[in-house]
């Protein structure tokens, strides 16, 4: 067959050729939602440097990274899951569960920290696999499934430990969690090393691999992906497994950083992660989003809260600001779409089709 000229483009006479890109690089790079977030991040950062007392100085970034590390870690798989138009609300519960497991396994079963951590991450992966199985193979909506497992995993965590909190962990491990990479005084904690490694892997997986292309196709149009030979179920399944394992790793970090394993660790973290991911430009309808935006989103929220804390503001106001930011960021996409749509319609001197307008009422959130 391969000898057939028809299926050999170069065999065809003067075949047409195309430029790779319609717009120059700078426009493709700058006119994106991701860049908007990064720019905003830069602005907020510079503003804080100038106007927020004590914001400059190595401690700010150091604490910032310590605080947002779990969110950074979990945001990676969460972004991929949301790009396939699914969601995982159970991540924070997995963090709690793995934290408890590390404690129990270390104290009661006498495992060394690394072993306990590995075991916890294995359990985390299993939790993720349970989500993945129910979502892709039983075909249940991930929102409902993970609301369920959210309660389930958290419940197991709290149930296992009950009243007590495990707090005796070997110094060198708890210190490691807060160690600085470039020696004292610098602002980069060691947790950034595993994060960067995971980030590189995630970037490769999502942006530079066949698997990643599949993720986007599923998000845009799962049916077409299926017709093209993408294994939709398996892809989603693995994403949930990864999410579980990474969340468990974050749980290990959580435990060591605070030197205390508690069932209620990281309560409510899932919403922070989702907020950051959405802020980072990932569409909840799936198919859109990129990791640099996500990372920027997480850091942005982190910087805003730490700046506001330094200003002496407390959670209340921080919550409000984050909420408003979240709503605005999601609205902005659709508002921009609407605006450009109107613009295009006007330039062609045409009314926008009524259907699109009415379709507004039906964003289906899954």
């Amino acid at each position: 067959m391969s000898t057939a000229t028809a299926s050999r483009p170069e065999g065809a006479a003067p075949a047409r050729s195309y430029p790779s890109y319609a717009a120059p690089l700078w426009r493709r790079a700058l006119l994106t939602r991701e860049f908007a977030i990064i720019a905003l991040l830069g602005i907020v950062y510079l503003y804080s440097l100038g106007n927020v007392p004590n914001f400059d100085g190595p401690l700010t970034l150091y604490y910032l990274f310590l605080d947002i590390a779990p969110i950074l870690l979990i945001a990676l798989p969460m972004a991929m899951i949301m790009i396939t138009a699914e969601i995982d609300l159970s991540v924070a519960s997995v963090v709690g569960l793995s934290s408890v497991l590390v404690g129990v396994l270390h104290q009661d079963a006498g495992l060394s920290i690394p072993l306990a951590a590995l075991a916890a991450m294995a359990v985390g992966a299993v939790c993720g696999a349970a989500n993945g199985f129910l979502v892709s193979y039983v075909g249940l909506p991930s929102l409902a499934v993970t609301i369920g497992t959210m309660a389930l995993y958290r419940g197991v965590a709290v149930g296992l430990l009950g009243t007590k909190a495990v707090t005796d962990f070997p110094e060198r491990w708890t210190d490691l969690a807060k160690e600085r990479i470039f020696g004292p005084g610098t602002s980069y904690p060691t947790i950034l090393i595993p994060f960067v490694v995971l980030l590189v892997l995630a970037v490769w997986l999502l942006h530079f691999s066949n698997f990643g292309r599949g993720i986007y196709e599923i998000g845009h149009n799962a049916e077409a992906a299926h017709f093209t030979g993408v294994d939709v179920e398996l892809t989603k399944f693995w994403l949930f497994v990864i999410s579980g394992a990474v969340s468990a790793f974050a749980g290990v970090y959580y435990t060591l950083r605070y030197g205390s394993a508690r069932g209620d660790n990281a309560t409510g973290l899932e919403l922070q992660v989702i907020a950051a991911v959405v802020l980072g430009g990932v569409s909840v309808f799936g198919g859109r989003g990129a990791l640099h935006g996500v990372v920027a989103g997480v850091v942005l929220i982190g910087i805003i809260s730490s700046a506001m804390r330094l200003e002496g503001q407390t959670v209340n106001l921080i919550n409000i600001v984050i909420g408003v930011l979240l709503v605005l960021s999601v609205l902005s996409t659709s508002l921009l779409a609407l605006a450009s749509g109107l613009l295009r319609a006007r330039t062609r001197g045409k009314r926008p089709s009524s259907r699109r307008a009415v379709a507004a009422a039906n964003p289906n959130e899954r």
Binding site: I87, L134, V138, G139, L140, P141, L143, A144, V145, I147, G148, T149, M150, A151, L152, Y153, R154, G155, V156, V158, G159, G162, G263, L271, I274, A275, V278, V284, F285, V315, N316, L317, I318, N319, I320, V321, I322, G323, V324, L326, V327, V330, L331, T333, S334, L335, A337, L338, R355, V358, A359, A360, A361, N362, P363, N364, E365, R366
Partner: protein, 357 residues
Amino acid sequence: MSDTLLVEPSAQPAAARVLGTLLRSREIAIGAVLVLLVVLTTLKSSGFVFSSDGWRNLLVSPALLLILAVGQAVVIITRNVDLSVGSTLGLTAYLTGKVFIASPGMPVVAVFVIGLAFGGLLGLVNGLLVAYGRVPAMVITLGTLYIYRGVFLSWAGSDRVNADDFPQGFNDLGTASVLSVPVVMLIALAVMAVVGYYLRTARGGRELYATGSDPDAATLYGLPVIRRVLVAFVLSGALAGVAGVVYAARYGTVSSGAGSGLELQAVGAAVIGGVAIAGGVGTVWGAALGAVLLITINRALPMVGISDFWQRAVVGALIIAAIVLDRVLAARQERQLVAARDLARREPDRRKAGTPA
């Protein structure tokens, strides 16, 4: 030859049909589980039902979540979700306190109206953002969850509401009974009855189902989709408002944490009650039963000697079980229908044999 297209004729007698639907209905299933639970727990400790307090708590405790679950069910039926109800509840509960502090003589009914209106307003904000912003409800209401809670904290931060800020008459509402049925529960049941009646017997109610069942078809059909979505969110907000007033009446003090985390419980209750996250399916009766079941389990576990630390685990398992059950039943029905269609094609005269149960 039209026979080849026949689906099931409405041949079976009405009685049989009613029975069949009853047996297949989720409400009955949940109800049965609930009864079983209560019976078992009562056998363990008779006080669970047969003591004035036991009886009262059995009915009072679920009231709050019941109201929220009803509102949540309506939103989910339109293929949306409202995560902000917890914050709305807290905010309204606090407002109630403020109202009484401002004007102690305020009649209780007026306070309920205020709560209703205020909650409805917050719901309207959600609705407008979702309907016109073309944004998934989950994100919007997640945002407003933060915002409302934050507003609540900053406001409540300044000073707080204690039991003695409320007039006695209002506080008593939390425990008063009529014919040994607590007033709070009566309120919840009234809410449920009204909403349920509307969903079942009003055109608008049915349009909510249609909208959730297939939004595009609804638009194509010419249903006022935007208005329906707004209605759903306003209703959910308003009910959260009512729940807030009830909260104030029952717990007397309103601390800054009031209502946090209730949103997911409400969604859970609705899902357990057979309201499908994908929209278009479910009843408020189911959601209400789901709520009662959730709360009663929480109260029953300690009685039967399970540490209440395990409650959340049980609840989670319950939610999963519920949605898996739904899927299994749906799959079975689908298979039966296909088989029926097949049979109809091959041997028209023996069609009825293929009647799906």
